[in-house]
Symmetry: C3
Subunit: 212 residues, 3 copies
């Protein structure tokens, strides 16, 4: 019993931590586009929670947790206010990629787990795990009218996909949930950090002459 | 009984009126971007109803009223056709800010009320009231690939937030629903109109040298 | 019995075919914007399935079929990979407009039918049939930060609207479902192909001097 509560608490803390880190990226985008305080807060909230909200809408888990649990809003608003007053804060994300990547890993693993819990099949749960992790960045970039950066950056969504698939595979093989989740998160984290360090990118279609 | 019907009717009339005013803003954006007739109608419908549709999706009230009740579509199409043939019509919104602001106030108050009715907590209901009021403008601007203007304009979302929070507070204190709704709407309306008159804007993060 | 299974299979085949053709358009947009392999696949999936997913969210049919049935993902990924390695493949859409228009017709007719099956009224079902057909193109263009091309192209959404309304009308008159669906699809197909051949476009609001 104690153990379950402990794991649940750790999970929540990591989830709120991920929300906070992603919200920093949204707030930074808002400041960069010279939005007002409210715009910065909206971008922070959307970047931090859209992935989970999209997942919850698609699996029918409404109202989404990120809406009903005020702690997600609080985490996003704190990140937004912090970035608004000290824009330098957001630089922590590029300076310490580990922090941001932990968010990616936690969202991917938790997203896949929740989709499985709602009865989705293995392929759908893997895709939804990935969507939980990348949805925030997608919505953030759409709101500031940019082509999502993750469509062109270092291995990012693929790392989320890998983490989610470990969780799905573990469930299919009836492995214990806790260690599988940790393994999935570590795989995602390792892939992403290595990709950043080595500049790994996915290929772009060649032979196209017209540049944007 | 009579009284309830009267209030319900007034509420519907105000809601359709708000939809019409917001649809004008969508149609005007469509005309400005030289969209064809269909594009103008879609933008009118999205600007008029997206806030309510997003709220309904998030609280699980599907299918959303704006889809099932043909009167919303009709209000939006009338606004779209009118603006298409007489683009000057849309100028009524800037000429008489009261009309547009009534829409904002009604959407915020009704949105918060509906979220409470669906069992959401006070923080979530306030946020969803605001989303009901600003969602149409967000989706309109996304569709024409612009950064949402409300992220940079006079106090707008904050007025909606204030109106929604009055409704939520009133419910928490078990105050009668009717007067609370009126109070919330008047607060939202007053804030917005004063902000327009005096040019009140939210601050923008300073110290950023790079301009968009 | 045999007959029903046959019709069901034909319907699924056409639906997957439509998904594949629409996914080609998404993948082509991704290649044109120089997205990486992952971005191309996401755009392919979104262009092929967003219409159906939006419809399913709005009628409460969650999780959406395009998420739970792995064949839709497979069709989209095949279109994405094909376009990524041989970008010329996507040209088949403009070279043979029939292929693309079949997708439009199938999505419009199936979308209206599904909305009716979920108890929506005639106006809502017609609109949702159209949304099923145009949603993929809308989301694709939003993701690459462009004003949706269908707001300015040859009769496109109107053809989908016409096809969907035939299905709704047929249901209202209790006509047999199969022939009605075929009639709706043929009307949509005919309208779209004629519009492409003759360059039929919807009007644009005149008298506006400011160009985008």
């Amino acid at each position: 019993m104690d153990h379950t509560i402990l794991v649940g608490t750790l999970d929540l803390v990591l989830d709120l931590f991920g929300t906070f880190m992603f919200a920093l990226s949204g707030a930074a985008a808002g400041v960069r586009h010279r939005l007002d305080l409210f715009g910065v807060l909206v971008l922070a909230f959307c970047a931090g929670t859209s992935g989970g909200i999209l997942r919850d809408l698609l699996i029918g888990a409404v109202p989404p947790t990120a809406i009903t649990d005020w702690r997600y809003l609080t985490a996003a608003v704190l990140a937004g206010l912090g970035t608004f007053w000290y824009p330098g804060i957001a630089r922590i994300r590029s300076a310490v990629p580990l922090l941001d990547s932990v968010g990616l890993a936690v969202f991917a693993v938790d997203g896949a787990k929740k989709a499985l819990d709602f009865g989705l099949g293995p392929v759908a749960a893997t895709v939804l795990g990935m969507l939980s992790a990348i949805g925030g960045g997608l919505v953030r970039d759409i709101l500031v009218s940019e082509v999502p950066v993750l469509f062109r950056s270092e291995i990012y969504a693929v790392a989320a996909l890998a983490g989610a698939s470990v969780v799905v595979l573990g469930r299919a093989l009836s492995l214990p949930a806790g260690p599988t989740a940790v393994a999935g998160a570590l795989l995602c984290l390792g892939l992403r950090l290595t990709a950043i360090r080595r500049g790994w990118k996915l290929p772009i279609a060649g032979g196209m002459e017209e540049t944007p």
